[in-house]
Amino acid sequence: MARKINLKGLFDTGLLSSSLEEGAVNALSNGIGAMFDNDPNLTTKFETDPLHFSGVGVSAVKLTFIPPIQGKNFRLKTNIKGINSGSNKAFISVNGGPSITRNGPSSISTIIQHNYDFNISGLSSIKLNQSAATTNTSFDIEIFNIELFVIDEADPYEFNDSVLTTQAWNSSRYIGRQLIGSKINSARRDDVGNNDRIPIIQNYSRNIYIGSRVIGMTEPGITGSFDDPTLTPFPGFSYVTVDEYITVNSDDSITRRSVRGGRGEGDDLNARKGFYQAWYQDFPIGKQVQVKPLDKKLAQSLSPRYNVFNNSGQLQKMLLVNQHPAGDTVDSGSYYAASYETSSFIFDYCSGSGNPDETNDIGADFNIFNYLLLSQKFFTGSLIANPTPDGLGVRT
């Protein structure tokens, strides 16, 4: 069975980066990331460099995977379309190796889809190149709906190549179909745009995660201590923590991966990156998760599923800022601000340019939490104008 790599997810989380090596990104492009999504209206548009030393127009973009994608045999699918003329050649280079060449679109607006198969031990980079014929030194192209599949894993997977000719495996973009299904592998009335009621194939996970702790926070509306007082409290919520998972391979063998006992820290950063790569794909924010104790005698009233509110770790509280109380209300003075605009994504924490004398202009009360644990790791100064020798100032 082949495994489809979530390129958009990797790109969004920084595990896939791009660098333009030849040519330019067209002003009408929807950005590099548009290559990886399934939105029919978004494409990445490149302009070739007509002055390239080779004498023909060339554009090239390099995609780098950190950590490398594990596997032995891969398939890359691309869709390209000529904008102002046809492209004569489209070729890729994997891990800096020799080019794999295909013909480009023969005329303007022609869409051409390519499959590139390659055998390599771990995929760290793909360079996408397009070049004009020697008699045609300038052309622009669109690239979209790039898909990457691991055909053979390091622990070999059996891949039924015939599925690649099915509609579900063909580029949904290319045949004008969408990918938003309300249920995996079945056609349902509430699928978006799936008018032909064709079952929509989505990625299945083959990972089972082994939980380590459930860190509960306070009951809603109740103050007091809870499992970990260093955390930013979200009453009624818990952190479900995991440090190991098992992968069920297609031959039913099991692979265990862990960040337990310090693995994934320090010199073993790649282990942590690899773990989080699987983690983010399996537990995206807004999706649901099942928490299942293996002790059948355990008294519990867990819900069948829980929404994932956040997947990136645990928030630890550092600095609380309050307006100073003034009688029955609050009033730190005219320079205090706390204003967030949805249109700009900007939060103002001081009005205007602040008080010219620079003292007490915000005028806020504040508390520093977990000072030695958190703030001291990056802040060597003091939040107080005249600190005491320990940098903290007089306290009440």
């Binding site: 990972n207 009453p235 820290e265 509110f309």
Partner: protein, 224 residues
């Protein structure tokens, strides 16, 4: 108020006011710390908007350090602006929390996440002095009157999912003697059908006699 609670989890409550220069230095240090590191997962900073003490249901809360126990939840009355109504997003934005992605010390502004934007505007009431009436703003949402906010740092040492699971109610006796598993929504049906089999093969202690899990339900094996 207490001064310092304990060495590592200490809470410091200075008896002076905060000024913009010091706060800007603090944010600059945080982002310098983040930008200079290879692994940024544990150097991400978040902001949570919080209610005024007087808006908290108990009404008797006097210790401002307890305010973070009462986040503004955008689906509850008083926690959303009355024009656009309640907002249920099932993410941190519903808890009035998002990531800080940038800081400009010259304009005293933080840039907040565009990938996971907040559900609504947050504008605190400002300065009540009548001479400065031009600065009077109506608070939105109503509970954000004081403009209180909490800065947090992410700890990703242990991969964690934030879920609305009330531990005291759902797991009154904890997790028992055995391990627990966390299952993705899109786990392959074949694996889901044979969960005990594969857990046993992985050496994980499941309840009951493991010898009963020796055969596979092949029904969904070939689903892609």
């Amino acid at each position: 108020m207490a001064g310092i609670d304990s060495p590592s989890t200490s809470t410091v409550t200075p008896n002076v006011r905060l000024n913009r220069i010091k706060l800007a230095e603090y944010f600059d240090s945080a982002f310098s710390f983040k930008s200079g590191s290879e692994w940024k997962g544990d150097k991400r900073f978040f902001i949570t908007f919080l209610p005024n003490v007087s808006n908290i249901a108990q009404g008797t809360l006097t210790d401002t350090r307890e305010i973070p126990n009462f986040p503004i939840r955008t689906k509850l009355t008083g926690s959303y602006d009355n024009i656009s109504g309640a907002k249920i997003s099932n993410n941190l934005a519903e808890l009035s929390t998002t990531e800080i992605t940038g800081h400009d010390g010259s304009t005293h502004q933080l840039t907040l996440s565009k990938d996971f934007p907040l559900n609504q505007q947050y504008i605190a009431r400002r300065h009540i002095d009548t001479v400065e009436s031009i600065h009077n703003h109506s608070a939105t949402p109503p509970f954000f009157e004081s403009g209180s906010y909490l800065i947090s740092k992410l700890n990703d040492d242990n991969p964690s999912l934030l879920v609305e699971l009330n531990k005291d109610q759902a797991l009154p006796n904890g997790l028992g003697d055995k391990e627990f598993i966390v299952i993705p929504e899109n786990l392959h049906p074949f694996i889901k059908d044979n969960l005990q089999y594969f857990l046993t093969r992985a050496g994980i202690d499941v309840s009951g006699d493991a010898s009963q899990y020796t055969t596979l339900d092949e029904t969904n094996r070939n689903l892609l």
